[in-house]
């Protein structure tokens, strides 16, 4: 599903080039649950944003579902993001002025789905995540765990093939974190490929394998994917 080859990401400050990612070469197969770990500043989130097509200032080769992303114009990359990718953020990033229902509807509204069909999908997702009773509440009226549950529901509502999660349990207490991780495991079993960034060894243990980053480099040889 994902193949990166000699991918570099750097920031240019005057004559100085500061590398965030160096010669990243990796492969992630469909159906895998991969964890990216490493200390702060190792480039984990940057790698995740590149995988999610939110960062386009990199060099090297990136193939996603057979498409050569490195030679695609920005518009086409957005299309790939819309079609295949869902995001879960550490800080949930729900829109404060929208209700749970409306937050869930956002990704669908960018995918040319008719309002009636949209309503059906949102209702089904509310039911699936058991948050029907919260649909008219605003994010500020929910606990952290509930907000992240809505965040995950929003990420998967458009049925993405790839779910990218940046420290998904970073702001939650342990019981809520476990719930989210179990939810990820269920989604993965249902066929969603998951790439998560985490500092937690426990969360990493939910995945199939771990990629370790340090100062922008992958520090351990890639393990053969074993799904």
């Amino acid at each position: 599903m994902i193949r990166l080859s000699n991918l570099d990401r750097y920031f240019q400050t005057g004559p100085t080039r500061t590398y965030v990612l160096r010669r990243i070469t990796l492969e992630i197969n469909e159906g895998e649950f991969v964890t990216i770990m490493g200390p702060s500043g190792a480039g984990k989130s940057t790698l995740l944003s590149i995988l999610g097509m939110l960062d386009s200032a990199w060099s090297g080769e990136y193939f996603f579902v057979g498409e050569a992303v490195h030679s695609l114009p920005p518009k086409k990359r957005v299309e790939l993001n819309k079609r295949y990718i869902g995001f879960v953020f550490q800080k949930y990033h729900l829109i404060d002025d929208l209700t749970v229902y409306e937050n869930l509807e956002i990704p669908l509204s960018y995918r040319d789905i008719k309002p009636k069909e949209r309503a059906g999908i949102v209702a089904e997702t509310l039911d699936r995540f058991q948050i029907v009773g919260k649909k008219d509440l605003f994010p500020s009226q929910l606990s952290g765990g509930q907000q992240q549950l809505v965040g995950v529901a929003r990420a998967v509502i458009a049925q993405p093939k790839l779910l990218l999660a940046d420290e998904p349990t970073g702001n939650l207490h342990s019981a809520q974190g476990e719930e989210i991780m179990e939810l990820f495991t269920r989604l993965n079993r249902q066929g969603t490929t998951i790439v998560q960034v985490t500092h937690s060894e426990k969360n990493a243990s939910y995945g199939h394998r771990t990629i370790n980053l340090r100062d922008g480099w992958i520090v351990e040889p890639e393990l053969v994917p074993g799904v």
Binding site: S49, L54, K75, K82, H93, I95, Y110, P115, R154
Partner: protein
Amino acid sequence: MDTLLKDLRFAWRRLRRTPGFTLVAVAALALGLGATTTIFTVVNGVLLRPLPYRAANRLANIWNDLGEGAGMAQSRFSVILMTTFGGIALALAAIGIFGVISYSVAQRTREFGIRMALGERPYQTGLSVVLRGMRLVGISLGLGLLGALAASRLLAGLLYGVHAGDPLTFIAIAALLSLVALVACCLPARRAASVDPMVALRAE
């Protein structure tokens, strides 16, 4: 229609969340737009529209022929002065709109980042900023025109040639101000469209 209603509801919630800012922004814009309309109503009524007499130009010529050169100069000066005031009011209204929309864009950077990460295209982000800006301008313009109507009614009793609620002037000024507002919204909209989602989401 459904999207428009949702968008209106969302805009209303945002405005309600910051009632002080909304009130000041709408009042300031309404004042600026109303003042511009009033000034141009006076310019049109007193200086541009021909006098309601046959061969009105000749009346002016007679004045000139009598050697009252100062009178002509005075009239020319008035035209320049009033038009300058009108231009300044128009520029201030444009700066006001630009400021309000820029502030609103700065406040919503995180939201734009989220929306882009969820699949919104940059042009959609820009368009939403322009539409929301024009909605605010629409409300302010409505209030401003009501104020201008009241002011021109007052001025009609004081200045010869000024008519209260001259529809042609009002329509022309509303169209001109809408055009200026559209231009003033475009720069913040461009900035919103170029938000880097990852930077916006990390900046919080």
